[in-house]
Subunit: 94 residues, 4 copies
């Protein structure tokens, strides 16, 4: 039976990336408190967003290889495809 | 004389938003540790990216009203315009 | 045997959307020639990008339900997953 | 007096880019009609979006150097800043 989540093998990497992202957020907070230059802050915010996108892609990869593949194997018109596309849409338009 | 940063009046709001973003990152880390559903995690990551975009826009707004406006007042071909567009490009393509 | 493309059932809709996108591009060209207001033009460019994203999502949906599902059925570590994620990455960072 | 648009000097380049974008849209339509591979189509759609972003950035650059700079010169709290940020927000979330 499938587990409800598919990122088992990437779990450790995901936790470690989220810890790093938390640290980056704290670093930007400090930059603001220290009155650092506007565009240096925006650049760090952009890097932070990029790091978050990479985590989304890692989870999406595992989700497609796991949950979706299994669902489609059992029913090619499975609603998991629609659900997945709706999430990719939100990721694209965030 | 202009300060090198232009977000003085939004400083408190910016720090408070970055604190909230740090908390969101920690929350997503917990979701991974608790084996939560893939797409629920991606949805929270998307919300986190959205929150970061709002902070970027707040800093860009202050930067345009402050640094850029002053620079353009003194020299309409000021390199601050190019620098600003380069940053907006990175924000768009993160 | 699978066809190399998976959007057969959406083909007509895709062609018709691309025709509409071509018309939108021509409309924006006219706005520039008529010296229309800067931000009205940017707004139309943004709408055009949004229409293109919807076409990308339609093709991605068919691709996941077709090519990818078939590939994963035959081999769960199929390189199609990696290829798909690389494309979603590019779509996100365009 | 300021003209209501600020892209005079880039007008020719903008029209020529929009013509190229129109051609790219027509090319993708042909790819669909010829049953080309899903991800090759998505890749071309992504390139098309990227070309549109570059046009948006060109118009935004002229708008900041022109309309916005003039407005801010006359009144630092000018609503043009808010309008500009609202447009950048839409461009980011398209």
């Amino acid at each position: 039976m499938a587990t409800p989540y598919s990122y088992e093998r990437d779990k450790e990497a995901l936790v470690s990336r989220m810890k790093k992202i938390e640290g980056q957020a704290r670093g930007i907070q400090r930059m603001v408190e220290e009155n650092r230059y506007c565009l240096d802050i925006v650049q760090q915010l952009t890097a932070l967003s990029g790091a978050i996108d990479e985590v989304s892609l890692m989870v999406l990869k595992d989700h497609i290889a796991g949950c979706v593949a299994q669902a489609v194997r059992e029913n090619p018109d499975d609603p998991h495809i629609k659900e997945l596309i709706d999430v990719i849409r939100k990721v694209m338009k965030r």
